[in-house]
Symmetry: C2
């Protein structure tokens, strides 16, 4: 999927919402545990109820790997369901991978070819030759961790390197990599005020912004500091939407939470 | 497995060799492709031929994920085979994971509980609250990326932060985390001369050292700068051992390469 396809979808749906499919078997409604594949059954219901409100879905791979083969199978079925029924929706494997060259190529194959995701999140610590193998898939997007939403972001990411913060060095350096135009970046909503500076370095890139909702980030602040002429933002909410209810009405409850965010987004888009 | 169990094993086998099980289906002997599970069949043969020479095995998860469900199943069978037949051997999931707190807990469960590895490699970029969930498994080891073997290590890891390199800041900071005594660190063999400085910060920690062989690192240099009284080193070789031959004698050829490294290690241990 091209960036302009994504922008078009945002304009059509009046939404730049990404829904995080972080499925914890201990948190899903009990009646689903009788299903053959409870995780997929949960995801399918969430997708069916929210696909008109969201432009992207983001399963975090940790939640699938924790259940071993069954979990990986549920991930496979989820991405297949999305690609078959909603090929217009942008899909993100939130995997935070990264390794030396040939190994990163194997990860890229796993997420881009085998599973068929549009994008994958990647950690920058190992540098250029750990990220370029993902960028070599020129019809896909690589989403690089820049400034994350958690407290630990202040341990290394905001430390000063030769007069500039580590995360800014990551942003600047990544722009020199081959096919860097296909990079997007993770910036936590809890760091909204940093977005003004970030936009000086990557004025047009799409940012994947987790941390609205459960983690305390503000949608209006993020938009205020981070929105571009082509929107340039994917705002992720996971727990706030998918665990809105643990009863049989969970999908409707998720849709109700998603509508709230979509309507705030529509208001922001209309006010531009 | 405790660190002293590992040290005991090193002394018994006169070896601190770790064999990387980075299985690329395009590189394994063709006759194995007729097996029901070619990747596991390959690993089993390699393990059977080398288990007396190696103290650790390290499957890199990328190579399994690239083959989807079949790959994950081969990984599961490999770790089960090791845990059943060689419970004394240290097992490393080379996964380079790391995410916000609750998500890292899911990764830790995947590798420590579901698969049953003794350790997992973790990336430091997201800081303390992304690593401590792994360290919370107090009977397991968390192996933090410090200074990696690839060229990209010079992009961010060696940059100066407030007067000290990023990777040294990672080492120093990690020592303050809860249960940090169960940390090990990845330091590439291609950066052997950095080990003298690294040992000033983590004098006793075990280091997992990839990059001997195919990547050009020197065993004797690594030992010269990095060895402790309890050895403190796991030297990894992957391609140099497992792809020593692509014929039916591949396991014997792998053992022959492993013996060469083990004998060099024995000589180094005897010369102490």
């Amino acid at each position: 999927m091209t960036t302009s396809d994504l922008v078009q979808q945002i304009q059509n749906k009046k939404s730049f919402l990404c829904i995080g499919l972080d499925v914890d078997i201990d948190k899903i409604p009990k009646h689903l545990l009788d299903e053959e594949d409870p995780i997929f059954a949960f995801n399918k219901s969430i997708i069916d109820a929210t696909h008109h409100l969201a432009v992207a879905y983001k399963p975090n791979t940790a939640f699938y790997e924790a259940y071993g083969l069954k979990g990986w199978k549920a991930l496979e079925k989820t991405i297949q369901y999305l690609n078959t029924n909603h090929p217009d929706i942008f899909t993100i494997a939130d995997a935070k991978r990264g390794d030396i060259g040939n190994t990163s190529t194997m990860y890229a194959k796993a997420f881009f070819e085998d599973l068929g995701f549009d994008s994958v999140t990647v950690a920058p610590y190992m540098g250029k030759d750990s990220v370029e193998p993902f960028l070599a898939f020129t019809d896909k997007h690589t989403i690089l961790l820049a400034l994350t939403s958690n407290k630990g972001a202040f341990d290394f990411q905001t430390k000063m390197v030769e007069g500039t913060e580590v995360y800014k060095t990551v942003l600047e350096t990544s722009k020199t990599w081959v096919n860097s135009k296909n990079l997007m970046y993770v910036v936590g909503a809890t760091k909204a005020k940093f977005l003004a500076d970030i936009r000086k370095i990557v004025p047009d890139s799409f940012l994947l912004v987790p941390g609205v909702g459960a983690q305390g980030g503000s949608l209006s602040e993020v938009c205020n500091y981070g929105m571009t002429k082509d929107i340039g933002l994917l705002i992720n909410s996971s727990r706030g939407i998918i665990y809105a209810s643990s009863e049989t009405n969970f999908a409707e409850a998720a849709a109700a939470e998603a509508v709230k965010l979509q309507q705030q987004m529509e208001a922001i888009l209309n006010a531009r």
